[in-house]
Amino acid sequence: MSDQPEPYNASELLICTTSRLMEDGTTAFIGTGIPMLAASLAQKMHAPNLVTIFEFGGTGAILESLPLAVGGGCTFNRAIAASGIRDIVETAQRGFVEYGFLGGAQIDPYGDLNTTVIGDHDHPKVRLPGSGGGNDVGSNCWRTIAIMPHDRRRFVEQVDFITTPGYLTGPGAREAAGLPRGTGPYRVVTTLALLGYHSESKRMQLLATQPGVSVDQVIESTGFELLIPEQVEANPAPCAEELRILREEVDADGLYI
């Protein structure tokens, strides 16, 4: 093995960074795409007891192949239960689901996400798909993790439409709205950085830069004032073992990576 780190692409970076956030022995509400690959990788790396929960009913599947659809057969492959959407979201609503993964067209400093419209709702410039399960996940999972490409058009001071709740207008706003206590955005995984939220102000803050990325680059790619703590970690690159498993086992057919 050479000392040179193995090259990897942006998807692989997002998958590996996300995967490391998944703790063993806990539950994660998994969407198709990157969260699915990250969960599969996590199960094979450090979290064999990560319980995957898919929106349309699959719980505890063995992730042997990758789905192109949220209700594909692999989401309940050798699962311990195959129920339906209400059972799954009600399980989250009564507090059983630790992690939820989300994406979006826009995110604001409080982690609010927009997947509904660009422009005015009734006369939109771009009509986006809508909430899907996003709002259910962002409302009811304990800790939500957003996965996003990082640029100023996406990281904006104010989203055009709050599809999925982050911390809304700031500290206390989720609780005032009636959202379950103690829930909220936890991390944002991007191609440039790993971000979190300040415990008091609930605003987004930089935690670590991705390999080869400077703090200034992150700041410049963010359309709002990002909190920068004294200490910013350097996120380690995907290791050879992660990349090997990802390429040879998780997505051997190259569906996503």
């Binding site: 192109l68 339906g84 209400r86 509904t116 005032a176």
Partner: protein, 340 residues
């Protein structure tokens, strides 16, 4: 202790505050009394309800109806019924979506007037161009926002026969503001709770693994929101991979998700979810889906696609013939079967 004191106060109060009312249109009234009358009048006889897609759509779906499809993305979607709706051009539809290929086809054919929308898109293939065109142009007159579970819960309220259901999704967001939900202070604990209005469908469309001729239907694997939607539909059209004897149902009554008395029409439609997948039966036809993703990019190419795969064929069998035995067999072998 604080919250419980609030609860105590709530117990003594004589009203509960409405904290917010979504300003989205209520596309279908939660008329549980009318629904009761309708259900009472429905025949309870175990009659043979088999018919073709063409007959079912002609008899049971009228222009302006509020319809819904049950599916998970492209999976177990009643595509042969959707094709027939496009073929007959049933217009001014109001729909509940969650939808991928199904609603995309209806949008491509400009048959949709209003949407209770949760997700319309092409999943891994990105945004729906048809949704963009129809909504951005204003041809879809009303779009009301909900979460995925929100729509399923609204069906559940209708299935329960009550006008609303309380949930903790959607609170604090524009999704709620542009919905027709309301937020009240819970009279027991004082916390804000969203009330979602019951959603009663004029017509529900569901594709299943097996059903008997009367409509007793069973689904293998995950069941999405089939149970709820079936019970929220005034008229219910079932398409099925396979028609079985009633005795097969009676041997495993605990597998029945839809009892016959809910059902108005039963259509035998092998590969009825094509080009989507059907668990334990066949894999999705990725080539055909990519074909649609491409075609849907412009109105012209979308129209050509509909011409070829819908208007150009008389029925579902003729549609399947376009693909041929070998390709369909390959899709079958692409889906892991179910061990006994």
């Amino acid at each position: 202790m604080d919250r419980m004191l609030t609860g105590e106060e709530a117990i003594r109060s004589e009203s509960v505050r409405i904290l917010e009312s979504g300003m989205g249109q209520l596309l279908q009234l939660p008329d549980v009394e009318g629904f009761r009358e309708w259900n009472r009048a429905k025949s309870k006889e175990m009659a043979d309800k088999r018919m073709t897609e063409a007959e079912a759509v002609r008899r049971f779906i009228k222009p302006g109806d509020y319809i819904g499809t049950e599916l998970y993305g492209t999976v177990r979607c009643p595509m042969s019924l959707i094709h027939e709706i496009v073929r007959q051009g049933v217009s001014d539809l109001r729909v509940a979506g969650q939808g991928v290929l199904d609603l995309d086809m209806l949008l491509a054919a400009s048959l949709i007037k209003a949407i209770d929308l949760t997700y319309i898109g092409l999943e891994v293939h990105g945004l729906s161009n048809c949704l963009r065109r129809e909504v951005e142009s204003g041809r879809v007159e009303s779009v009301v926002e909900w979460s995925n579970a929100g729509i399923a819960w609204r069906f559940k309220a209708a299935a329960m026969g009550v006008p609303f259901i309380p949930v903790r999704s959607m609170l604090g967001t524009d999704t709620l503001k542009f919905s027709a939900a309301k937020v009240i202070e819970d009279p027991f604990t004082g916390i804000p709770i969203a009330l979602l209005p019951a959603l009663i469908l004029d017509v529900g469309l569901i594709h299943v693994h097996r059903a008997d001729a009367c409509g007793n239907a069973q689904i293998d694997g995950i069941s999405g929101f089939a149970a709820e939607m079936a019970r929220a539909s005034k008229r219910l059209i079932i398409s099925t991979e396979e028609i079985v004897e009633t005795e097969v149902i009676r041997r495993r009554p605990d597998r029945t998700i839809i009892p016959y008395y809910l059902v108005d029409a039963v259509i035998e439609a092998p590969f009825g979810s094509h080009p989507g997948e059907m668990c334990y039966r066949y894999a999705r036809d990725e080539e055909q889906i990519r074909g649609w993703v491409q075609a849907s990019q412009t109105p012209e190419t979308a129209a050509e696609f509909l011409d070829k795969y819908i208007h150009g064929v008389t029925d579902h069998q003729a549609y399947l013939d376009l693909f041929g035995e070998a390709r369909l067999e390959a899709l079958k072998s692409g889906a892991p079967g179910r061990e006994a």
